[in-house]
């Protein structure tokens, strides 16, 4: 595992995340979000979970980000007056970050390096999905269908 690569990807991802959270224009933020997901996918690659990384790129960058963009386009005008930034939230977020970091650094058992591990093949993943995780898989399928129908019903025009 390459530290340099990790640091570059991490900085890149976090910068994009910060941009996504703070940029004034919604469209810019949505595009930054795409960058964040690409960064995370890179981190997954770095960790040896190529399949998940790819799935992330496909689903998030390909589907979710596009959805976000479409939503932004579908809700162009905004009559809301207050576009201000809430500093209370920032303080809480910083506090949470501090707390998490403190506890991560104070937990000795986490200071480990990665053990050697055989590469995880797509075949293995497929096998596991179809055997042990077959029920959860079916459930997720059902869930996705339900979400699809639900989303459709939600966005259908209200009947007068």
């Amino acid at each position: 595992m390459n530290s340099a690569a990790l640091i570059i990807i991490a900085v890149f991802t976090l910068a994009a995340a910060l941009a996504a959270a703070t940029l004034r224009k919604l469209m810019h933020a949505a595009l930054s979000l795409v960058v964040v997901f690409v960064g995370i996918a890179a981190l997954f690659f770095l960790l040896g979970a190529e399949f998940v990384g790819l799935a992330l790129v496909f689903i998030y960058v390909g589907a979710v980000a596009v959805l976000v963009v479409f939503t932004i386009l579908l809700t162009p005008r905004d009559v809301g007056k207050d576009r201000g930034f809430n500093w209370g939230g920032a303080i809480v977020a910083v506090a949470v970050f501090g707390g998490l970091t403190w506890s991560i650094l104070n937990t000795q058992s986490l200071a480990v390096v990665a053990p050697h591990m055989p590469a995880l093949t797509v075949k293995q993943i497929g096998k596991t999905l179809m055997t042990i995780y077959v029920w959860p898989l079916q459930c997720v399928g059902l869930l996705l269908t339900a979400a699809l129908i639900g989303a459709l019903i939600l966005v259908m025009e209200e009947k007068r």
Partner: protein, 665 residues
């Protein structure tokens, strides 16, 4: 083996209780059957009491107990019992005789009342509770009947329920006596803890017998004093005497039965009953608990006698007289004259019931008027009442030779004179005797002598059913002397368990002359001061009391009962009201606010964002202006319906969990 009456002693209180229940269950309109039931219950109780009394005459110092298990808790048992001894038997007879007279009197006195049946139910209930009290062989059983007696007194004082003053007096009586009772209750607990039993006599294992007393040791003083608290409350001793005069709001027979003859005597009886606790470890008859009893008694006796001089209500004078006499009995018990105290109690039961019923007869004759200044000259209109009242007055004043009160009072003086620690109580009691004669003379003159005034104009003698009990009681007050004289102190011997013999030489004793001189002085001074009471005399208008004319400030002080009620109202009562308000306020605002505040900590984020936002500043301003209510508003701000606020709360909760982790790690 116990005789039949001992094993069935419970029947004595059961009769009036049964009568009470029966009366309550019959219709309100069946007056005759109600009265008949009550009187019948009382007669049966009297008969059983006489049987019990006779059985105690078998031997000197007769005592029989009948104990039983009330209930088992865990693997322990709580036992109660009844005891028959001279003290109980004498009380039984006194209560039933006096009670019967008063029941009969009530039939006439209450004839017009619309709640006639309820009155007799209460009266029977009271009688049953009182009879139970005197035969109880367990301090707990005494306490139980003690409370029931208090309940009956509460119900009867407040009998004329539509009068606010009666309700207030009933409340005052119940609460004041309950203050004393709480001390009594603690005494019960303490005794139970130390002695392991509450039975008085239990074949040598009772708490008043050798082994039980030995286990008590030094705590006996505290137990005795706590029990005395109860006696102070019920017997109207200083500083809890304030309820007794107000209790005169009840119907007059009630005043006679409860607040003169029997219930108030319960305190004296209680002290006599548990006397071994008071005298445990006595050095020449003096213990610290008994010393307290003496001083409380002296204070009460003198104070009440002084106040009685300045009262205008015929029943209030008698009420204060009762307080004073009870104080005298307490002194007697305290200085070691137990028999003297009880004898005075029995005698007092007769003559004070007589006086109260006489007063009732007077009030009845004067159509409800109770102010003695408006009476006068009644001896011509109500001769029987006058004669019997005079007997009662002589007995109360302590006129020697023919009236029972004289002999018992003399014996009390005798006991007090020889009290080792101090002679002050003796001298104060001498003053008390003079004062008693004085205020009784004043009352007699105002009511029966002089010119008839407003209320006396249409006065009439009471019907036979009311005068008969008066005559019976008057004879009782005189005839009781026969067993009280020093020449043949039969009652004394009966109570103490010592043999008595007749010796006419002992009849004449120095104390007799002291007593005679004091009473004569009191009566004489009374006649001199009040000879023209109720008429215009010199610069004094007719309606002004001679003493008031001579010493207005002193008279006002006494007429206002030394301002003790006012003092209590300013201190104890207002303090407890403040405490109540404070508790309520603390509850509504402080505790509730605190708990809500704790809740708000969990929702800090809500407060935080709102304090940043303009809305928050507004809420903050409101909070300061609306005081404690603001906290609630902050809470409802937290329920803002804003998902971000909720999300923030979750984040804060996460932080709190992290902190907990840090603390535990």
């Amino acid at each position: 083996m116990n005789s039949w009456i001992v094993t069935h002693l419970w029947l004595v209180p059961a009769e009036p209780f049964a009568a009470s229940l029966a009366i309550l269950s019959v219709s309100n309109t069946r007056r005759k059957s109600a009265a008949a039931l009550a009187v019948a219950g009382q007669i049966i109780a009297l008969a059983l009491s006489v049987v019990a009394f006779v059985s105690t005459l078998q031997t000197h110092g007769f005592r029989a107990v009948q104990n039983f298990t009330w209930f088992t808790f865990g693997d322990q048992t709580l036992r109660l019992g009844f005891v028959l001894d001279p003290l109980a038997a004498a009380m039984l007879v006194m209560i039933t005789v006096v009670g019967l007279c008063i029941f009969v009197f009530s039939v006439g006195y209450m004839a017009e009342d619309k709640n006639f049946t309820r009155f007799f139910a209460y009266l029977s209930f009271f009688s049953g509770a009182m009879l139970g009290l005197v035969i109880a062989n367990s301090l707990l059983l005494v306490f139980i009947f003690w409370e029931l007696v208090g309940l009956a007194s509460y119900l009867l004082i407040g009998f004329w329920i539509e009068r606010p003053s009666a309700a207030a007096a009933a409340k005052k009586a119940f609460i004041t006596t309950r203050i004393g009772d709480m001390g009594f209750f603690l005494g019960v607990l303490w005794l139970y803890d130390r002695a392991g039993t509450l039975l008085f006599y239990d074949n040598g294992r009772g708490c008043l017998e050798g082994a039980g007393l030995a286990m008590l040791g030094a705590s006996a003083t505290f137990v005795a004093l706590l029990i005395f608290c109860g006696a102070v409350g019920k017997s109207g001793q200083f500083p809890l005497h304030v309820w007794l005069p107000d209790a005169m709001e009840g119907p007059t027979p009630v005043s006679a039965l409860i607040h003169a003859a029997t219930m108030v005597a319960a305190g004296v009886f209680l002290v006599a009953r548990v006397y071994p606790l008071f005298s445990l470890g006595a050095i020449s008859g003096v213990t610290s608990s008994l010393t307290v009893v003496v001083w409380i008694g002296v204070t009460t006796a003198l104070m009440a006698a002084l106040i009685a001089i300045a009262q205008a209500d015929i029943k209030r004078i008698l009420a204060y007289s009762t307080v004073s006499q009870l104080g005298l009995m307490m002194v007697s018990l305290g200085v070691g004259g137990v028999a003297a105290g009880i004898m005075h109690l029995l005698a007092h039961g007769f003559f004070k019931a007589l006086l109260f019923l006489g007063a009732g007869s007077v009030i009845h004759g004067c159509h409800g008027e109770q102010d003695i200044r408006k009476m006068g000259g009644l001896r011509r209109f109500m001769p029987v009442t006058f004669m019997t009242y005079a007997v009662g007055m002589m007995a109360l004043s302590g006129m020697p030779f023919f009236f029972c009160g004289g002999w018992t009072k003399e014996e009390i003086l005798h006991a007090t004179a020889h009290w080792p620690p101090s002679h002050v109580p003796y001298y104060l009691i001498l003053v008390g005797v003079v004062l008693t004669a004085l205020y009784m003379t004043r009352q007699i003159i105002y009511v029966f002598f002089g010119n008839p005034r407003v209320a006396a104009e249409r006065a009439h003698e009471s019907p036979r059913i009311m005068t008969m009990p008066l005559i019976v009681l008057a004879f009782g007050a005189i005839l009781l002397s026969a067993v009280l004289t020093p020449a043949w102190p039969w009652l004394h011997g009966y109570l103490t368990g010592e043999p008595t013999y007749f010796d006419v030489a002992r009849l004449i004793q120095p104390m007799l002359f002291v007593s005679l001189a004091l009473v004569s002085a009191g009566v004489g001074v009374g006649f001199w001061i009040y000879r023209k009471a109720g008429t215009q005399d010199g610069g004094r208008p007719a309606e002004v009391d001679p003493l008031e004319y001579a010493q207005p400030a002193l008279f006002r002080f006494l007429a206002n009962k030394m301002w003790i009620d006012e003092l209590y109202a300013r201190t104890v009562i207002s303090f407890s009201w403040m405490a109540a308000r404070l508790s309520d306020w603390m509850d509504r605002y402080f505790w509730d606010g605190l708990v809500r505040g704790f809740g708000a900590i969990g929702q800090l984020f809500g407060i935080f964002t709102t304090s940043v936002d303009e809305r928050g500043i507004n809420a903050g301003v409101d909070e300061t202006t609306a005081g404690a209510r603001g906290l609630g508003r902050v809470m409802s701000t937290a329920h803002s319906g804003q998902i971000q606020t909720y999300l923030g709360a979750i984040a804060i909760g996460m932080l709190a969990l992290l902190l907990l982790y840090a603390w535990l790690a």
